[in-house]
Each structure stands twice: as structure tokens, then as C-alpha cells.
Symmetry: C2
Subunit: 333 residues, 2 copies
């Protein structure tokens, strides 16, 4: 085993601006010997998520911040290369907060042990945080009923693509917004969305009215900004608006205005609600089992965009923010 | 009885601007004979509410619009001067949609028969729509628990003043915002609010942080605009934000931006919800009985600002929007 660990460190705070590759800095660190209870993992796959930028910004919010000089945080899947922890052996596949580095050291109990059952990388997507976010956000906050019209913004993204499919399998109509004809075709042809709206080339509010003639019962928002405002204009009585994400807000210098149509929640007796996934931790195992069953049955499909190579890690996070990824953004080391 | 009915008609649509007295026009109309089932009422008191401007604007929303040339709509209390309806006799006191006129004609069943029990005008305030709005908005949408901190904007208004008192009698802390030292003193000294914030002379966000050290559990918003945004910055985990009104929005030319801090409902796992009073119609009787009991016990106090004179009706609605009223705005004919 190498005794040098290659890493990417945080080198800047991107608050109020777009990320750049200069926000990260290459580093080499010595690997220290393990102590009792510790495990060393070689990274195989890294997951890329919009919330990583939020974490770098160190604003109170989702997660504990990461400071300049820290190894960039990231979830990943890896192989145990050395273990001094009970119940974890060399060769085990695990997922956990591996970070942007070739090797990472953990207290054994902080890692989740995985089976290589053909769904390995799904543990960073539909069986990981993004799938669970779709599951609990839609079911617990959106509370859809069969026959409801569920609209998902960012519907081709890692969370949105799962959200629409869960809505479909429970008897809802699903309408998604995405950028570009290719993503929209994927929503309808592969994921079973009833309609897709190309926000880059179509008038979103008019298309929402057209595709949701009885109004929107559940709006699951991953984007914020104009699409949230347009959806608020088209909500049905007693609608539930799930605020899951706001990727449109991430690169703005100052906090952008909220949706002028927010007051429509009075006229429509509607609810806007936010949530944090961690609130449902006690139910993750049940949710994963159901999601896994739906994947095995072909009721939920997913797509991965797997980049490769240690040197491409920073560019892959930028790729996610550019919207170039097609499916869940991963990188294989 | 006079055979001429003096009235104020709608003469303009104030959408996107402040009301003016020119939006109303004096009129005299002949009183037609009653037909079977009808009742004629002489107006004694008229109620003034912010939603009346919204109704004049004829935008989809709260209520069916009123057109230019119609008698201006208003709730009121009056005396039956002639009846051809079963169960309603001359001399009965009634409340209903009397409008800005000396006499009004109604199908008997559309009127509510009142007792003159010393709380007569309360039926236009704490026992009427404003009290019921406070009751259902706070209890059903805000869902406060004893020990919670409940913040009310427009706390010296007809709805806000009742909201804070219900919060207090169920064991919550109550903090109100109002304009001016006199209103703020009234909140604390007479209504039992724990603290009041003078939005005209104090920094609202800093004062909210000071008076709500554990965060806001329930924010009951009658105002919208900056105070809603400031409150969203100070909400506690799992807070409920009740969108009841938005008087700050009524005189703006274009739809003002929503609150930039709306995204804080994600970090705080919070809920923003609107409601329409009519949803609770089946429970109005129960709520009125409770409110009446609290008033009789001195647990809820209320203040009325009673203007006088038919000729002063339009100016009294403008008075409400100027914030000059001290308590529920009424006019006695």
C-alpha cells in the first residue's frame, strides 16, 4: 500500500459566486498507522451533490462547514484495505464520508457495509441521500394522493428523477421541468413522466397551466427562483409545496428575492414546507428496502454520469453546477 | 320610513395604488317594496376590513369582486325595520353583508340574528370574522404548544390583537409588532403581550432575536414584506408560519418580491401555510362560544375605534389603511 495519500483540499469559499477549480488545491499527505477501532478505506467512487457547495460556504444551514485547508468533504464508496475494527474486514465494501482523497481513515462504526449485489453505486444515488430525499420529501411533506398532479422542478436531477417515479408508482400524474429537449425526452420516455417542460425553451407558467389543468397538488421544488414562482401561480386548493432545494440560488451574489406569488398560498389554502433528511434517520432502512425493491422490479430506473480519474475531481463538481451531467454525478477512481 | 336610500357606490378600481375618496360616489336610490321571504334592515354599525380593498380590486382571490357602480360591500349590524320572512320580526338585531347604505334588503336566511347582550359590536370584531380568523389561523395552522413563542405582526390590529391573547391564554409567550410606541404599550399593558416591537422606530430583526432567544415557534403574519422576511430569519426548528394577511402589499403597483429568507424553511424544517376562514364554517358556532366566554371572563379584551356619520364612511376606510385606527375600525350610523 502507498504511504502517500493524494487529496484535494478546500482552497476558497465560493459564497455568493460560482465555483472555480481554484477553490481546490492538490495535496499529498502521509498515511499514519491505524489505532484500535479504525479502518482504512481506498476510495472507489465519489458522489457529487449541490449541497457540497453550501457546505464549503460555511453558512449556518445544512451541515457543519468545511474550512479552507480541510480535505473537501464528499460521500463515497470504497474498499477496506486495513482494519483494526471489530466486524469489518479487509476487502469489505463500505460507504461513508470518504472525502476527496485516495485513502481515508474512519472509526469503523461510522461506515455502512455494502453488498456488491449489482446495485453498488446506487448507494450513492437512489439508495443513498438523493433517493431518500425524494422518498421522504415527497411522501411525508408532499403527501400525494392517487390522482394528484405532482410537479417536480429539476426533474432530471438525482433527486427529481426519483421523485417523479415514486409519484407515478403511487397513481399520481407527474410533470417535470428540466433544461433541454434531451432531458425532457428522457423524463417522458424512460422515467414515465406524463409531461416535461423545457424551461430553457418554453414558457413555464403557460405550459404548467396546460399540463396541469386541475392545478398542481404537489410541487416538489429543487430549483427555486422563477420556476417556484410560476408553480405558485398554478397550485390547486390545499396544495403542498415541498421546498427541497434551490440550485438556482447557489451562484447569486446576494440573496435573491423570494417568490412574489407566495401569497397565493392564502387563496389556495396551501402549505410550503421545508425538511432535512436527517429527521427521518430512524426510517432509512425501511425506505431503502422499498426503494431497492422498486429498482429490482424496474419501477424505478436511474442513470449515472460516471467521470473518471483523481485529477478530474474538481472539474466534476463544476460539471454538476453547469447542468452538463446526465443522471447522478459520480466519479470513479 | 324613508323611501330614499342613501348609498356609497364603488367609483374606481384601486388595484396597484392607494385608495382615495374619489373611489366612492354618493348615490340615492328608491326603496322597492319587499317580496315574500325578504327583510329590510336599517344599518347601525359598519365594519371596516383590509380585505375590502382586495374585493374592490376584483382580482381572483378572497371573494367575489365588486364592480364599479355597485354599492360598496361591507359587513354590518342593523335593525330589522320590515320583514316578510318567517322567524324574523321587526326590531330584531341582525348582522350580515349590509353594504355602505342606510337600508339593505336581504333574503331572511342570509342574516344572523343577534342578542343585544352588551357585546353587540363584538359580532363585527372578536366574535366576527376577525376573531374567528385569529382563532382558526392560530390554532389550526399555527398549532401552538404551551411554552412556544408566538410572534404576531400587525399585533394591534383587529386580528392580531385577538391572536396574541389566545396565545397567552394557552400558555405561550406572545411578541407583537406594531407601528408606534402607543400601540406597543397597549399590546404589553392591556393585551398581555410579553414584548412588543415598534417597527417604525426599532430594528425588527435584532429585536426579534432579543425577544425570542429560542427562536420563533409560530409566526402569525398579517403584514408581509420586511417583517415576514425578518421573522423567517429567526424561526425555530419546525416553526409554523401562518400567512394570514399582507397589508403591506396592498398599495404596491406591482407584485412585490417574496421574502428572500423563504429558504430558511428548509434549514429549520418549517412550514408556511395559508388558509381561508370559510374552510372552518362548520365550527364557527363552537369558536364563537369559546371566544364569547373568554371575553366575558376578561381573558380577551378588545378595543373599538368607532367613527360616526354616513358622510364619513369612505374616509373611515382610508383611516384603516393609514393605520390611524386604534382597535377594530367601526362606524356608527
Amino acid at each position: 500500500m502507498a504511504d502517500i495519500n493524494r487529496q484535494w483540499l478546500i482552497n476558497g469559499n465560493p459564497r455568493g459566486r460560482a465555483l472555480s477549480e481554484d477553490d481546490f488545491k492538490y495535496n499529498e499527505a502521509a498515511l499514519e498507522p491505524l489505532v484500535d477501532g479504525q479502518v482504512r478505506v481506498r476510495t472507489q467512487y465519489l458522489s457529487f451533490d449541490p449541497s457540497q457547495k453550501g457546505q464549503m460556504e460555511n453558512v449556518s444551514g445544512y451541515a457543519s462547514g468545511n474550512e479552507v485547508g480541510d480535505v473537501m468533504g464528499a460521500r463515497g464508496i470504497g474498499t477496506v484495505v486495513e482494519s483494526r475494527a471489530d466486524g469489518i474486514e479487509e476487502g469489505f465494501l463500505v460507504s461513508g464520508p470518504l472525502g476527496w482523497q485516495e485513502f481515508s481513515t474512519h472509526a469503523g462504526r461510522t461506515l455502512e457495509i455494502l453488498e456488491d449485489d449489482g446495485f453498488l453505486t446506487a448507494h450513492l444515488g437512489p439508495l443513498g441521500g438523493t433517493g431518500l430525499t425524494a422518498y421522504f420529501g415527497l411522501l411525508r411533506i408532499g403527501r400525494p394522493e392517487p390522482g394528484d398532479t405532482v410537479v417536480v422542478s429539476g426533474a432530471a436531477g438525482a433527486v427529481g428523477s426519483i421523485t417523479g417515479q415514486i409519484a407515478k408508482l403511487m397513481g399520481c400524474r407527474a410533470v417535470g421541468t428540466a433544461g433541454g429537449a434531451e432531458k425532457c425526452a428522457w423524463l417522458v420516455d424512460e422515467l414515465g413522466y406524463d409531461a416535461a417542460i423545457d424551461y430553457k425553451n418554453e414558457k413555464v407558467k403557460a405550459r404548467l397551466r396546460e399540463t396541469c389543468p386541475d392545478g398542481i397538488n404537489v410541487f416538489f421544488d429543487n430549483v427555486g427562483g422563477p420556476v417556484l414562482n410560476d408553480a405558485l401561480a398554478v397550485i390547486a386548493p390545499f396544495a403542498r409545496v415541498v421546498i427541497c432545494g434551490g440550485i438556482s440560488r447557489y451562484e447569486q451574489e446576494t440573496l435573491p428575492p423570494g417568490p412574489p406569488n407566495y401569497f397565493n398560498i392564502v387563496f389556495r389554502q396551501a402549505t410550503m414546507q421545508g425538511f432535512l433528511l436527517i429527521a427521518y434517520a430512524s426510517e432509512f432502512a425501511t425506505a431503502r428496502k422499498r426503494l431497492r425493491g422498486w429498482i429490482a422490479d424496474g419501477k424505478i430506473v436511474y442513470k449515472e454520469d460516471v467521470q473518471e480519474g483523481f485529477e478530474n475531481i474538481p472539474a466534476t463538481l463544476l460539471r454538476l453546477f453547469s447542468g452538463a451531467n446526465k443522471g447522478k454525478q459520480l466519479l470513479k477512481l
